[in-house]
Every structure is written in C-alpha cells, then in structure tokens.
C-alpha cells in the first residue's frame, strides 16, 4: 500500500503538523506554569495584605495576558488539519479523539470568557477572595484543558478503551476511564505539565535576573526569583520522577521508541544508560559499535525500563528481526498478521453486501484475531518500524541533560537568594537569562522524542501516518505550510516584541492589561 502513496504528500502533511504543533507549544507551557505562580503570588497578597505582592502579581499577570492573547486558538489549526489533511485518521479514531477535544473546547470557552475576564478586569470590582478564586480557577482550568489534549495524544501512543467497528470503520469508545486513566496518559499529563512549570519558572527567574542586572525593581525581582526557584525546583524534581514513569511506559508499550532514544541497535541484558554519546553516521542494526564516543552508566537502562538491573532491553535488530530467546515476534510475522486483518476486513464488506452471514462471521473472526497487528499490514519492509534514530536520540539527551541542569540551577539560585548573595553574581544572572530560552528547547525536544520516536505510527501498531493522510494535492499542503510558517512567525515576533516592551516598561507601565 505504501508504494501507492505520494510520499511528498505524507512528508508535507507531517511537516505542516509538526510546524503548527511546535509553534503552538511555544505559547502553552508559559500559560500552564505562570497561571499557577500568579495564583500563589496573589494568595500571598491576600493572606499578608502586602501591597508589593499585589504589584508583583499584577506585573506577571500582564505578561501572562500577552502570552495568552497571542497564543489563544493557535491549537485550533491542528484541528483544522485533522479534517483536511488527516481525514482517514480522523474518521478511524471516531469519538475517542473527538470526545476529549470537545471537552477541552467547552472548558476553554468557559474558562476564557469568565474567569480570565475576572482575573484581568476584576481588580477592585470583586472581592479579594473572589478574585483570588478566579486566578486559581484559571490555573486549574488551563491545566485541565491540557489534560484532554494529552489524553487524546496518549491514546495515539497506546490505544486502549475502544473497539473497532468494521461496519462504520470507526473505533468506538467502550471505556472512557480506560482512555482517561491509561498509565501512558497519566504519566504524559504529569510529565508535560510539570515540565511546563519548569519553563515558566525559568521565564520568571530570567526576567527577574535582568531586573537585578539593571538594578531595577529589586524587591519584585528578589521575591519573584525565590518563589520561582522553589516552584521550579519542585517541578523539575517532579518532572524527573514523571519522566522515569514515562520512559518505563515507553519501554513496555513502544520499545522501538526506547531503542531509538538510547541508540540501542542490538538488545542486551543489563543494558546501560547513555549519558552522553555521538552516533556514527552509518549506524546500523547489524553493527556492534554504533557510537564514535559514549559515556554509559551500566545496567541503568534495564533498571529504568524494566525495573531490574539485569533485564533484557530489546534493540532495533531484535524488534525488526525478532528474538526467539526473549519471545519477541519478528516484524515480518506481524506484517503477515496485519495483512490477514486487512484482507478479512475487505472480505467482510463483500460478504456483507452478499448477505452471506456465515462468511461475514468468519471474516470478522479472522479480523478480530489479527486486529492488533492491523497497521503492520501496510508496511513493505520490517525496517520501516524504526523511527529516525539520531533525531530521537539527540532530542532525548538534550531534554534530559537540560532538565538535570535546571535542577542544579534552581538549587544554586535559591541558595544564593536566601543568603542575599544573588544580586552580586553578575555572571550567574546573565546565565539565568540565557537559560530562559533553554527551557523552551527542552520542552520542544520532549515533544520531538514523543512524536518522532513513535514513527511510522499515527496510531501505535494500528495506523501508519502514510495511511492516515488524506489523498489531496501535495501542493495545497505545501502552500498552507508556508502560510502557517509566516503567520506563526509573525505571531511569535509580535509576542516577543510586546513582551520585551512590557518587561522594559516594568510594573508601573499601566496597571491594567
């Protein structure tokens, strides 16, 4: 089947989705994290009555407003793309994908039209406590909104709680709770929001560091740094814990992704975790040594992936060629089963037309027995289950490396702040500004690991991206790709420009948003 598909169309459709998702994700983490820190700042103000905390709250709320206003609805474009460029996929997933997105849409609407308005317009118009409650509801609401999107994404990585209906050619949800509470969804949600809190903490720390360097707004900057360092440190530690949970789930459900994340071409027992490594350009599953240089911690990959230091971790070769000793089915066998599933789906339709119930039942039986391998039926080559290894490997190591640095950075910043020594550390203050964009780099890298690492699948094991794509003209997709690139770049430049102006102006530049 894949040979019949215009690869240019698939590539442009993927590129377009990747571009819009990456740009959309520039706005989301700051909203998720900043909303909580603003609510904490306002809580301190309400409890202490200290006007400086109100001033601090309003300043960060203003920057939150800029980010929210420019970022709002950028995610809608992804939904447009589902209908136009991914129509086979959209139909196939049925209400499983639609239900969480609908809940997200309703939540976002009520959140944005009510509590955000109270948050921005309600100072001195509603009681302090009601205003504070609105700020907390915005924080919880935006995070809850993210939950539904992440549940939908998790289902694509680990499809559960559904049954495929061959008559409608759609998946139907049989357990909402299995979809919502799947271990992949729970880990993904916690990991994504906690890492977003880290991005927002780095934002506050970076902007405050700039004020300290300029010797402006010293009290605001010092208080903000202490709060963001504590919040950031706790979030970064929690991100590490949930990251471990996510990696464990990847090991269980998406072993090819794990192999790519670690550049593990040949599986082994007691596999080590690569802390740093440079892959060879001609790395291949049949080669023993695929690294120019690597620093590896023995047995840790087995421990993290399978909770046992001597566990066998399958490599790319084991997953494509199979491994009898470790009971790993070769991909070629899965491809046979997948083709059987597709052929029986085809004959099911024919026998249905002929009203031949006995054969309908028989086709359905064969389909059900092989349905879990359905996606493999579209593959031409067992090696096509291997994602882009260098991209997945480096993105994973950039994410983990930066995450570790963030923990150290928050610890140092918090310590020096509490000792009242941070103001004099000019080099560190400059470094803190530099780390602001690195938070985004780590966050986007995480998404690259998640999405590139699961290729070729749109839905794990069930539907490759090449089948999910709508058969439309590749030029049309290319045109909209360019349109989006221009639109989102303009929005991003506008955000950065307005944000920088507001930061330079400081909290006194107009109290209202």
């Amino acid at each position: 089947m894949i040979s019949d598909i215009d690869i240019t169309l698939v590539d442009w459709s993927r590129a377009q989705f990747a571009l819009t998702a990456i740009y959309h994700w520039f706005f989301v983490p700051l909203t998720l994290g900043l909303s909580f820190m603003i609510a904490i700042m306002e809580t301190i103000y309400v409890r202490t009555g200290n006007e400086e905390w109100k001033r601090i709250t309003r300043f960060w709320m203003k920057l939150f407003g800029v980010n929210f206003a420019i970022g709002v609805a950028t995610g809608i474009i992804l939904e447009f793309e589902f209908g136009t460029n991914w129509s086979n996929y959209s139909w196939f997933v049925g209400d499983i994908f639609g239900a969480p997105l609908a809940i997200e849409g309703i939540l976002a609407f009520f959140l944005e039209s009510t509590f955000i308005a109270v948050m921005f317009f309600g100072w001195n118009k509603v009681s302090k406590k009601f205003h504070l409650a609105s700020s907390w509801l915005v924080a919880f609401g935006s995070n809850l909104s993210a939950l539904w999107i992440l549940v939908a994404n998790s289902w694509m990585q680990y499809p559960v709680g559904m049954e495929f209906n061959p008559e409608t050619v759609r998946n139907e949800m049989i357990s909402f709770w299995d979809v919502l509470l799947s271990p992949v969804a729970v880990n993904k949600f916690l990991h994504t929001i906690s890492s977003s809190y880290v991005v927002a903490s780095l934002f506050i720390v970076g902007v405050s560091a700039w004020y300290l360097l300029k010797k402006r707004e010293l009290l605001l900057a010092r208080r903000s740094i202490v709060l963001a360092s504590v919040f950031g440190l706790l979030s970064a530690l929690f991100t590490a814990i949930t990251g471990d949970g996510s990696a464990y789930m990847v090991a269980q459900k998406q072993p090819a992704k794990l192999a790519a994340m670690e550049g593990l071409y040949q599986g082994k027992s007691g596999a080590g975790l690569i802390v740093f490594g440079v892959l060879k350009a001609d790395a291949h599953k049949d080669k023993e040594d695929n690294f120019h240089v690597k620093f590896e911690v023995p047995k840790v990959l087995s421990l993290l992936g399978y909770r046992s230091p001597d566990a066998f971790v399958p490599g790319i070769k084991d997953l494509t060629d199979g491994n009898k000793e470790h009971n790993i089915m070769p991909t070629s066998e899965k491809m046979e089963k997948g083709r059987l599933a597709l052929a029986s789906l085809c004959s099911f339709k024919e026998y249905k037309k002929q009203n031949n119930q006995a054969k309908v039942d028989s086709s359905l039986g064969i389909f059900r027995a092989n349905a879990q391998y359905m996606g493999y039926g579209y593959l031409n080559d067992p090696n096509s289950i291997i994602p882009n290894v260098p991209m997945t490997f480096y993105s994973f190591h950039i994410m983990v490396g930066l995450g570790t640095l963030f923990i150290l950075l928050f610890m140092i910043t918090l310590y020096l702040s509490l000792k009242n020594k941070l103001d004099k550390q000019r080099l560190l203050l400059k470094l803190l500004i530099l780390f602001l964009p690195l938070g985004y780099v780590a966050s986007e890298s995480g998404w690259i690991v998640a999405e590139v690492g699961r290729q070729p699948w749109a839905i794990q094991d069930l539907m490759p991206v090449s089948v999910a794509t709508t058969r439309i003209d590749a030029t049309a997709v290319m045109t909209t790709f360019i349109l989006f690139a221009v639109l989102f770049t303009v929005l991003l430049i506008a955000e950065i420009k307005i944000m920088l102006t507001q930061i330079k102006t400081g909290p006194e530049g107009g109290k209202n948003v």
Binding site: M1, D4, K62, G65, V66, A69, I70, V72, A73, I76, I77, F80, E81, G83, T84, S87, N88, S90, W91, F92, A117, F120, F121, G122, K125, E167, T168, V169, R170, M335, R339, L342, A343, L345, C346, K349, G377, Y378, L379, N380, V467, T470, R471, I472, A476, T479, T480, L483, L487, L491, A494, I498, Q502, G509, G510, N512, V513
Partner: protein, 77 residues
Amino acid sequence: MRKKISGLFLTVFNFYYDGFRSMTMGKKLWIIIIIKLFIMFVVLKLFFFPDFLQTKFENDKQRSDYVLEQLTMPTNK
C-alpha cells in the same frame, strides 16, 4: 425575577464594558487577536481547510465506504 435577571445581565455587561474601556496594552492585544482569528477562521478555514469527508460526501455511509476503501484497497498482496 425578571428584574433580577436583567440586573445581573447589566452588571455583567458593565463589568466587561468597563474592563475593555480601561485597557491600555490590551487594545493592541485585542487587535492581534481579532486579526489572528479572522485569518484562522475566515481565510484559512474557509479557503484552505475544508473538512475533506464532510464536503466530499453526503452521509456517513458514503464516508465509511470511502475510508474503508482507503484502508483496504491496495493491500500488499
């Protein structure tokens, strides 16, 4: 009861009206939001992003037949 509802409506209206009027930087943001939403929902959605299955087919039966054909037609046999 009707008086209470209209009073509540007026309060909410005034809340938003005063809020928007007293905005400073927000006006620039609102212009960006409106232009952005116009480009997204009017230009992009109408001219570049039709819902493929909704526009090409009249009912769900046709849509499911088409998708089934897409999923099964040129298998690797």
